[in-house]
């Protein structure tokens, strides 16, 4: 399967790419919202792992502007300051929330694969 991970943190992207590959899947990277939207519109993904706090359009904006119906997994620290959480909750494409910091990166990948 083909995945997209949108996160401004390089090592999170890299570790997720490695983890998906180790489970035999493909994973693309986007380091901000604009890049993510660009890649979503041109490529086909089975699911998107979306960070919330990102420069150049954050996760909410990506969700808002994304027209395709692709399963979305929110990866965020959920500090409680996020006032737009209800919007995410009301989007049917959001399949699950995965709280940062992760315990183990492979558990994250397994959680995503299990929901598909």
């Amino acid at each position: 399967m083909n995945f997209l991970v949108a996160d401004d943190e390089l090592l999170i992207r890299k570790s997720l790419v490695r983890a998906f590959q180790s489970r035999g899947h493909q994973c693309d990277e986007a380091q901000n919202g604009i890049e993510a939207l660009k890649k979503i519109s041109t490529n086909t993904y089975h699911a998107i792992l979306l960070d919330v706090i990102m420069p150049d359009k954050n996760g909410y904006e990506v969700l808002l502007e994304m027209k395709k119906n692709i399963p979305v997994f929110i990866i965020s620290a959920f500090t409680g300051d996020d006032t737009n959480i209800s919007y995410i909750q009301n989007d049917p494409r959001v399949k699950d929330y995965i709280a940062k910091p992760f315990e183990h990166i492979l558990e994250v990948v397994d959680q995503v694969l299990g929901k598909l």
Binding site: E9, L11, K14, S15, R18, A19, S22, T79, P101, I105
Partner: protein, 620 residues
């Protein structure tokens, strides 16, 4: 001497020297001393003259036997018988009679004289009597005048004595009323007597006594007005007799003594007379008594005020020596020693600084001072008030501290989350590298190094987690508190900021679930904000409302309200309506956070009259 003689015997008499007058013809009323004749003649004379001739001497001229004794039988007087031949004998008898008559005449004369003298004496006596009576009368009169004068003086003395000895007693006014009443009662009838003392307002204190009942009333009646009786009738609700008034001279205020007379039995003149000697003395003593009494009240009130003040109050002289204080302190000691335990005056002393100051008297005690200067007996004194603002200072400090801590906490929180991101990246990447499919390709030393890195990231995460947990930990302990009590405690700390504004409070004894300390901080912050938002003297209104199962406590000011542009971000940190340096702008943010921590909420809105901030609690 007159002799009535029968004509036939005239020859008997020679009348030489002439000692008698001879009358022969007997007139009707003749007072003859001697009658001479025969028995027939004598009888005729006596018949003719009656008793008027009884006193005369009768001489019967007869020659022996020819006397008709019967003619003389009834003669009441003695008569002498002389023979018609005995001329000499007759002469002799006449001489004797003449002498006798003369003697008698003389005696009569003396007698008359004596009688006259006696009469004179009697008249004189009478006159003397009258005179002495008049004298006596005037004597008696003057004596009674003296007595009356004495009495008057005695009464006056008694009055002076009374007024001097009683003017220092507690109930002097009442005693004076009774005394004057008793005195006047001796002079005539009247109904009652009273004093009218004008108060500082338009009303007068009226003290009356009617011989039985003493009463006191505060009413408006002008005793200088001729219609005072009407005014009193209105006030007393009964008909009032004639009111006679005498203003107390040289009294410190409008005061008069008055008498109510019903049937005009006691005239104004009498009372006028009575008061003439007494009014000025009475006025003087009563005034002194009143002033002393008021002075006592003022001193008492002053002492009570002085003692009740929660801070320190000093009256000190120029050398800082204590003259009076509102707490037990030995007089004469310098204030700085007493209060600040210093050996020299406090550097921040308002007297030295010439302005009201705020400073620490000693460690842990901050005061705000107010001072004023006055002269007493040509010496300079200072009145200094120390308001203890330690609590205020502490709370203010706590507020600033918690603002700082909150800012720091937020920064830390932010930092922690920011750190978590790369840390998660590092940890995840190391985890992915240590995935058996990759790790087998790595050198064993590198594998163990990666293991160390993983351990370090885990340790870092634990530290961050602990930090975040710690910053969330300071949750307030909640209990049932009476909102109004917390508010009152807060207001005492806000006296200074509230001074120029009016405060209206309309809340009940409602209990809410909160932390008293935090709620106090929130209220302190909100009310202070409200006051500072008003550039001109305005009002702060705090009222309660129950709505949708919630209790709202609204704090409303009369300022300009919140700027609409910041209203939606009002609870964001660093959002401030104040000038730079006045606050960090965390006040509302922090207040909201504290309210949230108490499971309560804070709402702000603009009203047509100013800003409104509402503390929202669940109804218990």
């Amino acid at each position: 001497m007159q002799i009535l003689i029968q004509q036939e015997f005239e020859y008997l008499l020679t009348n030489n020297p002439p000692i008698y007058t001879l009358i022969t013809e007997a007139p009707d009323n003749l007072l003859a001393e001697v009658v001479i004749g025969d028995d027939q003649y004598l009888q005729n004379i006596r018949q003719k003259m009656g008793s008027s001739i009884d006193r005369a001497h009768y001489i019967l001229i007869a020659s022996g036997k020819e006397i008709n004794l019967a003619n003389l039988a009834n003669s009441p007087v003695p008569y002498q018988v002389v023979s018609p031949k005995a001329k000499a004998e007759l002469e002799q008898s006449l001489g004797e009679i003449s002498a006798q008559v003369n003697k008698k005449l003389q005696i009569d004369l003396i007698k008359t004289e004596i009688q006259r003298k006696r009469r004179e004496l009697e008249t004189l006596n009478e006159k003397l009597n009258l005179e002495s009576q008049i004298q006596l009368q005037s004597l008696v009169q003057s004596h009674s005048e003296e007595t009356q004068k004495n009495l008057k003086e005695k009464s006056l003395l008694h009055f002076l004595d009374f007024i001097q000895s009683e003017s220092t007693t507690e109930d002097f006014l009442s005693q004076l009323l009774k005394f004057v009443w008793k005195d006047l009662k001796k002079l005539g009838r009247f109904y009652q007597i009273g004093f009218s003392l004008k108060t500082s307002s338009e009303k007068s204190n009226i003290f009356t006594y009617d011989g039985l009942v003493e009463s006191r009333a505060l009413l408006s009646a002008d005793f200088r007005s001729p219609t005072v009786a009407l005014q009193l009738a209105g006030a007393w609700g009964r008909p009032v007799g004639k009111i006679m008034t005498w203003a107390l001279p040289d009294f410190s205020r409008d005061a008069s003594v008055f008498i109510e007379v019903v049937d005009q039995q006691l005239s104004a003149g009498v009372i006028e007379n009575y008061f003439k000697d007494r009014l000025s003395v009475l006025s003087l003593y009563l005034d002194r008594w009143m002033i002393e009494k008021e002075y006592e009240v003022i001193v008492e009130r002053w002492n009570r005020t002085f003692k009740s003040f929660s801070g320190y109050m000093h009256v000190i002289d120029e050398n800082f020596n204590l003259f009076q204080s509102n707490y037990d302190a030995p007089g004469g000691e310098p204030c700085y020693k007493q209060l600040a335990e210093r050996s020299t005056p406090c550097p921040q002393c308002p007297i030295l600084q010439n302005k009201n100051t705020e400073f620490f008297l000693k460690e842990g005690q901050k005061v705000k001072t107010y001072y004023s200067e006055f002269k007493y007996k040509s010496k300079k004194f200072y009145f200094v008030i120390y308001e203890d603002i330690t609590q205020l200072h502490l709370l203010q400090g706590q507020m600033i501290h918690s603002e700082k801590m909150s800012a720091l906490g937020r920064l830390g929180n932010h930092l922690a989350h920011e750190l978590n991101n790369p840390l998660t990246g590092i940890k995840s990447y190391v985890q992915s590298l240590l995935e058996p499919t990759y790790s087998l390709q790595l050198a064993p030393s590198l594998q163990s190094d990666l293991g160390e890195i993983l351990k370090a990231t885990v340790r870092c995460q634990r530290i961050i987690k602990n930090f975040i947990e710690f910053s969330h930990q300071s949750e307030a302990k909640l209990e049932d508190v009476i909102f109004s009590e917390v508010l009152q405690n807060t207001l005492t700390l806000l006296k200074t900021v509230l001074r120029s504004h009016r405060l209206f409070i309309d809340i009940k004894e409602t209990r809410v679930r909160a932390n008293a300390h935090d709620l106090q901080q929130v209220l302190f912050n909100l009310i202070k904000n409200s006051c500072q938002a008003m550039t001109q003297p305005g009002s702060v209104t705090i009222f309660e409302e129950e709505k949708n199962g919630k209790i709202y406590f609204h704090v409303k000011d009369s300022g300009a309200g919140f700027d609409e542009s910041i209203l939606k971000n009002i609870f964001q940190p660093f959002m401030t309506t104040k000038k730079q340096g006045e606050g960090t702008g965390l006040g509302l943010y922090l207040s909201k956070k504290m309210m949230k921590a108490m499971n309560a909420d804070l709402e702000v809105s603009n009203t047509p009259m100013g800003a409104k901030i509402s503390l929202v609690f669940d109804k218990l």
